[in-house]
Amino acid sequence: MSVTAIKLAPVMQFVPAIKIEQVQKRFGDLHVLKGIDLTINQGEFFGLLGPNGAGKSTLINILAGLLKSTHGNIAIMGHDVVNDYQSARLALGVVPQELVFDPFFNVREMLRFQAGYFGRGRENDAWVDEIIESLGLTDKAHTNMRKLSGGMKRRALIAQALVHKPPVIVLDEPTAGVDVELRQMLWEFIKKLNRDGHTIILTTHYLEEAETLCERVAMMKQGEIVALDTTANLLSKLPGKNLRLKLGNSTLPAALLPMLKNGENGVFTLALTDLNQIEFALSELRKANVNVEDMQLIEADLEDVFMSLVGGKAGGG
């Protein structure tokens, strides 16, 4: 996998990749974004998390020029997305969440058209071929988009976002609905893009994905950012650990129910605020004559942080 590094002009190096100031969006009475402020620096791998309806997609659509904000400004690499939209869009590549495609063309044609929309001519064809190869699409380059599998369509969408060599790339749920092997491949590809100098903004349904990839994360809830920090700092805010018990057919003793985080198929996860609670849990299990088949002590993950801040079910939207 080889992707040419993005070289930024020295004067651009200190400009934030994305600067969002007091962005609000209303749909009638519905206040979808309530004054978002966010700065993402060049070269960052940034995660945007939140449940359905949190406003992530709305924010990304405003960033990409697909929606207009009710109030506030967004600049991409210093270019305002409204007043200087052409420069802003040249600096941005967006991978949409939905598997959208043009049914009239094959992969290579579609990528060349996309490059042409950004003012790139035949001199860009070598780059298009390089992306095709990097994303494992070489065998499918002459296949009509309609005939590609879901995974291949996803790769083609990522390729489309890269044809004009944008320094900033937004990936909206890039691994939604893809198998484990492709997910790993895409993770490696996106990490490579980031190492090559691209700023990456990722919205994801999978908190594990954000935890693995993102240096910094913003968590959104009901149109507001409720947490913004490095992934490491967010995780350290929850010192607690989890105790996972495999109990087979036995039920959890009633004394342990207040600590229960989740439990199904005989596997129960208890949230610990103190390591002394391990001894308490084991003594209660002994008292109840419950046989422990397996036991694991697990660090708190981003999902725990997410649940504590956002509440409710984690998910993309």
């Binding site: 697909l66 941005l92 959208v100 009239f104 042409g116």
Partner: protein, 262 residues
């Protein structure tokens, strides 16, 4: 097209690419977009000329079959110019692929120019093909080629613009079909394709004069026969006025992002 690709400036390459993509799009399904309207027009020619030849004298010295051809050419040209921009837009909106254009630096004016130019090309291609096939069957002289070109260009531009407006407005194929069947079809059929408005009762003559399609077809026909229901200059003014009004509305919609950029 490679030569043009290299010659065009980067600032206009986006417009040119979108135009080229729109051409390829209809050419990929040329049976449906080009061959089918040619066949339909020839069937009209065959049936109407067979049924009415000798019964109807519209212009002095002009056989009905010859009278019919410019009307059929213009009708097909207008309908296909409309179909090109409208169906492409509504389809890419429904499929979601419109996003690939909306994410690019292409301005609203460039977007308009690309879609319009492709609509004009398809209109011309269908119209010219019908002409080429028809002159095998009918002796058809051209008296004023510039008038023919002017009305073909203005007519396809007007309907191409109308198609962009309809494509932006319609959210589903059903709405587009309604637009085509309840607006475009009646206006073309009631515009004098098959008859001269002088053969109509006075009230229908007056009503016909509110139909912009009448002026496009009448002016276009003047280019062939040197005679028309009204002066081609009046038709030219009316068609240009309609084109400017629709282009203004279309550009206003595109600039505001109506139904495209929430």
């Amino acid at each position: 097209m490679n030569l043009i690709d290299n010659a065009i400036s980067p600032a206009w390459r986006g417009t040119y690419t979108l135009f080229k993509k729109e051409l390829f799009r209809f050419w990929r399904v040329a049976f449906q977009t080009v061959a089918s309207p040619i066949l339909t027009a020839l069937l009209y020619l065959l049936i109407f000329s067979h049924a009415l030849e000798g019964h109807v004298q519209v212009y002095k010295g002009v056989p009905y079959k010859a009278f019919l051809i410019p009307g059929l050419i213009m009708m097909s040209l207008l309908q296909n110019a409309f179909a090109n921009s409208s169906s492409s837009l509504v389809q890419s909106k429904i499929m979601g692929s419109i996003v690939f254009v909306l994410l690019t630096p292409i301005s609203y004016l460039q977007f308009f120019i690309a879609f319009l130019a492709a609509a004009i090309i398809r209109g011309f291609l269908v119209g010219f093909s019908i002409y080429i096939v028809a002159i095998w069957f009918v002796d058809l002289h051209i008296m004023h080629p510039l008038w023919i070109f002017a009305f073909a260009l203005l007519g396809s531009a007007l309907l191409g613009t109308f198609g962009i407006i309809a494509g932006i407005w319609a959210d589903k194929f059903d709405q587009m079909a309604a637009f085509q069947n309840f607006v475009i079809m009646p206006l073309t059929f009631l515009s004098g394709v098959f008859y001269s408005i002088h053969s109509l009762p006075p009230i229908w003559q007056t009503i016909s004069k509110f139909n912009p399609f009448f002026y496009m077809i009448d002016g276009f026909r003047y280019g062939f026969f040197g005679q028309a229901d009204i002066s081609p200059w009046i038709s030219l003014v009316v068609v240009v006025a309609f084109l400017l009004a629709l282009a203004w509305l279309c550009l206003k919609m595109l600039k505001s992002g109506y139904k495209l950029r929430g």
